[in-house]
Amino acid sequence: MELRRFNNKGIETFREALAICREGPKSDISTDLLTNSEFTYVHSPKIDIDLISFATKREAAVYLNKLFGGLSKQDLLNDAGLWSWLSLFYFDVVCPKQSGERKVRNDYTYIFEPKSSRHFYRHLLFVSWRILDIAPSHNRLMLDSSISSLDKFTSEVIKRLYLTRIPCFFEVLDRLYWDESIGRARPGVTNFAKVTAGNLAHRLPVRIRQLEKTYDLQSLTADQLIELLGEEFQFDGGVVKQMHLSLPKE
């Protein structure tokens, strides 16, 4: 199929369709919207796109990065019409039916909001493409996960530009939180409810903020940054060491 983009009317119509589908989770969204010239126009330059059943963010990221290789990155970062159209084109992938019903998430999961600092990274297809774009390696914590939901690693990292601007950051992330012995992320490191030493959600961003006041983080290797992070981030046998961390009083 020819790649197309929604116009404003198309985006709002898609938003209404999502609301209807949310109310009736067994229903489908009509794909007629994809090619209706009242709501869409053909992408320029013309690009042919294939309907693929991506299982992971990586599969989608690899395909989309190749497909969009010749396009302006700045345009892609701001193209609400394109990414929203893609969500409908791949709707069975980003919002699959399970036991005959869809779980339609918030609109920004499918409708790209490039100007919203709280929502832009929650668009499933955009964020998959973006992770591979900014982290061509050391990305398995984020990309080897289901395409139909946003994982904690992705959301906690991508929303914090100061982390992604550190050249060795993705290698550090991978070395800290990927457990080779079980072939997946260390359990508990993204837990919001429980503050543990070395926790990604609570501790890593804070520690990096402290270090950037003192050290030139742009010049560090992953070994050096891990050394600076300190004992709290030394994991022992796959188990996060428990430390006494003070929580704000209720």
Partner: protein, 258 residues
């Protein structure tokens, strides 16, 4: 909560030590003048500049020699830096340790001269942007450098009325200030640092409006925090006579309707 004390041994680099210009082109190019002769840093301390763009993880780094022997950037291409909102950091780094310790830093430096492809300076302390907001009329959006007042694009003229209609701004702006100052205090910044991100600008704005010119309190001082914010809001309302302007606008509106 860590108090705002700069005990890192790091010195502030005054903004007027750096002047940057960015010329249009593909890619754009930049030049900078740097003046560090009166800072007292070691002559062999390394000087680097970093260029980045709001919203982008790309950081371009340029060596500028040492404090004693500066190599000023002249017509350097800014490959990979896309977007209009370009800003720079200047770092002075201790070369004597294995891991580079910062001796001084100035962050978020905006170019003073630019072409059409690059923004210069700021667009006010509270830029307004029209976006889809469903049934909400306004919302604050806290971004990396600025906090934006988002207004519903589907309401004709709302963006302009936010600035000019006392029946709207006298009701909305006190709450806007309240929310932004509360969030700015939570950032726990050191106001002595050279920075022009929104928390620094808004807390300086608040301090100037406070009747006793008090500095903002620490984020863990809940009682004082709320009191400080309310005094700033009251100062803002007083300065702009918001009650009087609102009352006058209502009277005029009622008269026009008669």
């Amino acid at each position: 909560m860590i108090k705002r004390i700069n005990s890192l041994g790091r010195k502030r680099i005054a903004r007027d030590c750096v002047a940057i210009s960015v010329q249009d082109g593909q890619p754009r190019r930049f030049s900078a003048s740097i003046e560090l002769s009166e800072t007292g840093w070691p002559q062999d301390a390394i000087v680097v500049m970093e260029a980045m763009c709001a919203g982008s993880p790309v950081v371009k780094r340029f060596g500028c020699g040492t404090v004693g022997s500066l190599s000023l950037p002249r017509d350097i291409p800014l490959d990979g830096i896309i977007g209009q909102n370009v800003f720079f950091s200047l770092k002075v780094i201790d070369p004597s340790e294995k891991i580079g310790r910062l001796l001084g830093v100035a962050e978020n430096i905006r170019p003073i001269e630019t072409g059409k492809q690059t923004e210069t300076g700021r667009r006010g302390i509270l830029p307004v942007e029209s976006v889809p907001l469903g049934q909400q009329l306004w919302q604050l959006d806290f971004r990396e450098h600025d906090v934006y007042l988002l207004v519903n694009e589907s309401v004709d003229g709302l963006s302009e009325r936010m600035r000019s209609d006392p029946m709207i701004y006298s009701l909305v702006y006190p709450e806007v200030i309240r929310q932004i100052l509360a969030r700015a205090i939570e950032q726990n910044i050191d106001m002595e640092e050279a920075d022009d991100r929104w928390p620094y600008l808004w807390l300086a704005f608040g301090k100037n409006l406070h009747p006793a010119r008090e500095k903002p309190p620490s984020p863990d001082d809940e009682e004082t925090k709320d009191d400080w914010i309310e005094q700033v809001v009251a100062g803002f309302c007083q300065m702009h006579s918001l009650r009087d302007k609102y009352a006058l606008a209502v009277t005029r509106s009622d008269s026009a309707g008669d």
